[in-house]
């Protein structure tokens, strides 16, 4: 049985009529038509599907629609724009981080949630905050440089 959900995504309201057990990822991609986040594993093991729900980084591939409630969803596209970039997006471009780029929702959305609450983190704290996310191309060195750069930009 489907059910109607009013989702607030990147500041806009979207009505979705879907199975309450359906993971949020498919609502974002297929019902709302967003090109991010990505399906990586469907098991909350990689992070490619990460969005923020009320500022918390969550794995949309295992979050059922019924658990979203009235929360505000932020995707990578809603984090910043070329005109008004989030410091992490600026840093990612400066450091030329991605190779294939399929993983970046996980790293940027998780790091953004982390840096919003943690000022001047140490490298070990950054690594711990990002632990578990996957990047198969091996861009980890650039990822760390970019997160450190963004942390500096955010004071």
């Amino acid at each position: 049985m489907t059910q109607k959900f009013n989702l607030t995504i990147d500041g806009k309201s979207h009505m979705v009529d879907a199975d309450p057990d359906m993971p949020l990822l498919y609502a974002l991609r297929d019902d709302v038509g967003l090109n991010n986040p990505h399906f990586g594993c469907g098991l909350a093991q990689c992070g490619a599907c990460t969005v923020q729900l009320d500022g918390q980084a969550i794995r949309s591939c295992v979050t059922p629609l019924s658990a979203v409630g009235n929360g505000k969803i932020t995707t990578l596209a809603g984090l910043g724009t070329p005109e008004k970039p989030h410091p992490l997006q600026t840093a990612y471009v400066e450091e030329q981080v991605p190779q294939c780029g399929y993983c970046i929702n996980g790293w940027i959305m998780t790091a953004a949630a982390f840096l919003a609450t943690k000022k001047k983190p140490s490298e070990a704290e950054i690594k711990d905050a990002l632990s578990g996310l996957k990047c198969r191309c091996g861009t980890h060195i650039s990822i760390l440089k970019a997160v450190k750069r963004a942390a500096t930009m955010m004071g």
């Binding site: 879907a18 199975d19 359906m22 993971p23 498919y26 991609r29 297929d30 038509g33 967003l34 090109n35 991010n36 990505h38 399906f39 990586g40 594993c41 469907g42 098991l43 093991q45 990689c46 490619a48 995707t75 990578l76 596209a77 910043g80 724009t81 070329p82 970039p85 997006q89 990612y92 471009v93 030329q96 981080v97 991605p98 190779q99 294939c100 780029g101 399929y102 993983c103 970046i104 929702n105 940027i108 690594k127 711990d128 990002l130 632990s131 578990g132 996310l133 996957k134 990047c135 198969r136 191309c137 091996g138 861009t139 980890h140 060195i141 650039s142 990822i143 760390l144």
Partner: protein
Amino acid sequence: MTKFEKTSSFSRRSVLLGGGALVVSIGAAVSLETVLDIGNAYAQGAKPPLTPDQLSSYIAVNADGTVSAFFGKMDMGHGLHVAIGQIVAEELDVPFKAVKVIMADTAYTVNQGGASGSTGIQLGGKQMRMAAAEARRVLVEMAAGLLSVPADKLAVADGVVSATDDKAKRISYKEMIGGKYFNVTLDWNKQMGNALYAPGKAQPKKPSEYKIVGQPIKREDVAPKVFAIEDFVTDVKVPGMVHGRMIHPAIAGSLPVKVDESSIRQYPGARVVWDKGFLGVVADKEWDAIQAAEKLKVEWSVVAPPFPDQATLYDHIRKAPVRKAAVDIQNGNVDEAFKTAAKVIEAEYEWPFQSHASMGPACALVEIKDGNVVCWSGTQKSHFVQQGVAATLGVPVANVRVIQKAGPGSYGRNDADDCASDAAVLAKAVGKPVRLQYMRDQGTGWDPKGPASTHRARIALDASGKVTAYEFTSKAFSRVDVDTNGSKPQDTLAGQAQGVALKSGDGFGVPAESYAFDNKRMGWETIPPLLERSSPLRTSHLRDPVGPQIHFASESFMDEVAAAVGADPIEFRLRYVKEARDVAVIKAAAEKSGWVTRTSPRKDQTGNKVSGRGIAYSQRNGTRVAIVAEVDIDRSTGKIFARKFTVAHDCGQIINPDGLVKCIEGNIVQGVSRTLWEEVTFDRKAVTSVDWISYPILDITETPGEVNVVLIDHPEIAPSGAGEPSIRPVAAAIANAIFDATGVRIRRVPFSPDRVKAALS
């Protein structure tokens, strides 16, 4: 332009362009009409056929003066398109930003081999350089005619040709040919793929003239990804599209014998597509397709489990019949030298099956309309997928267009090409466009695997400790049970599932180095695959195919011999390494890392936390890499932290140093991952490493603290590859550092904590 006129133009041109005669005739009394006709010999409104012998197949000057470079290879994340743009802009004398590189779409590019063997610049760039140089030559000749100035008195800057002694005499590429096509035939070598080469008459620039090549220009495709503007192959949608999912047996080799379509009738649009071993579902919505694939009731044929116990894998390889044996390198009389040896050192090494485990499972979208097929794919070889989809559907290749879009990573023959053929079968069966994405367990469990292998090495020493003979033999699964691309149904899961027999190829390799030993023999032996059809352990190319395993063995072994003769590992290598560029990378890595000459293992450490350093070096198709690894080991847990790498890298001429460094960093990190963690696991029935828990890769908390890259630039040497060479020596460098730290030699990858702890206890 009719054929007659074209011939006429060409003949007049050949007369007029005959060296010095050109100057005289044009400078004297050639009418404007004739001059324009000369231009028409090179430029025309209709596009020539997309064949490798046409300049227009590689370069076009657009109506707005920008340049399109049509490139039959593709970037897989290293920024290859930037380097190609630099090469084309350099040779054409246009601004870098004026060049747009259009990659891999079969409607716009010829088959230059796709992403393959780190040849993007080495072979693809070579062709684009020659094409751009020829385009410039032709445009200067056109300008010579139009301006009545001899070609050798013309210069080009920013796409404008002007007389060197009279800047007022000028004409732009745009004015001459903008929006039209080159009508110039190249000297094509009649080869397709990587071997394709079609130069014109032009000589490319001398490296001393370079202004754009060698510059650290940034990628412009990063920002669109970071702002979620860029479309991936997974994001492509077409009207009327439905979603597909595939279903594989729990016991590899088993076939569906009964399928109950009614078990999924609750999902809108759900349909089963079943043909022999091929079993998939489609549904209107993606989530429904996923559930339908899970819920579909299927009865499978009873088959004997096809695989050996994993614990016996290497014994299986050792005992298996040799299907093909080859000796690739041989000099002297190895057997005789071993008979007279004062001492013989021997060792054997083992490397597991490994998975591409791309960031996401493969995705493809196939639309069939009026006999024409469009396939969007994340493949790294679109022209081969074009052939594969055509063969799968039984349509002419010309009726299939493959549009390559960024996929979830690609490091060789991953699951992308299988996905394209599967999607084609589904789309044909249901008569609708089908977007198929595999699930995680299929991406990791059913992709073609890097082959498991064993490697035997032995060395003969004389009484003084000098090496008198060396023998190295790999015995392994072939590197190509399925080919490196999905161009033939026998090489795709769809083809094999529908009954086309596997034709497993034979191939492996030998160490690539320049150790000069008086007697030397290096070869390989391949064994049959474990399962003849639709095997989750079928092998194919995974980044630097067979390179990491072979050089893990050969460069670990050199270290073992160095220790046995009481030599510093670098000093030992330099006794025998012959080629000057190899010596240079080894010395550069040693110097940059602060290498102190001494023997391994260290003898100054006690306690559980120990550190070590290790060197390894190798060549790869002209490129040479030496790596010094510095590792920390916790003896109590077996956990290894590959803390620091110093990489000396020589790939000849460097096109873009920043892009090159990023490419090397990725190689090192992925190499550490493959060395420390990665191993395909399986039981008698199937592959059991199917996600990121069962197939772990390197975590950010384990990322090397430093990767210091020393780039050795040789502008005068044609560029060789960089996409793979630096992953090659990583495992041996780490193994040698573990030995240095602990005195224990680990001869089986991966160096997971359990294995290291067991080895140390």
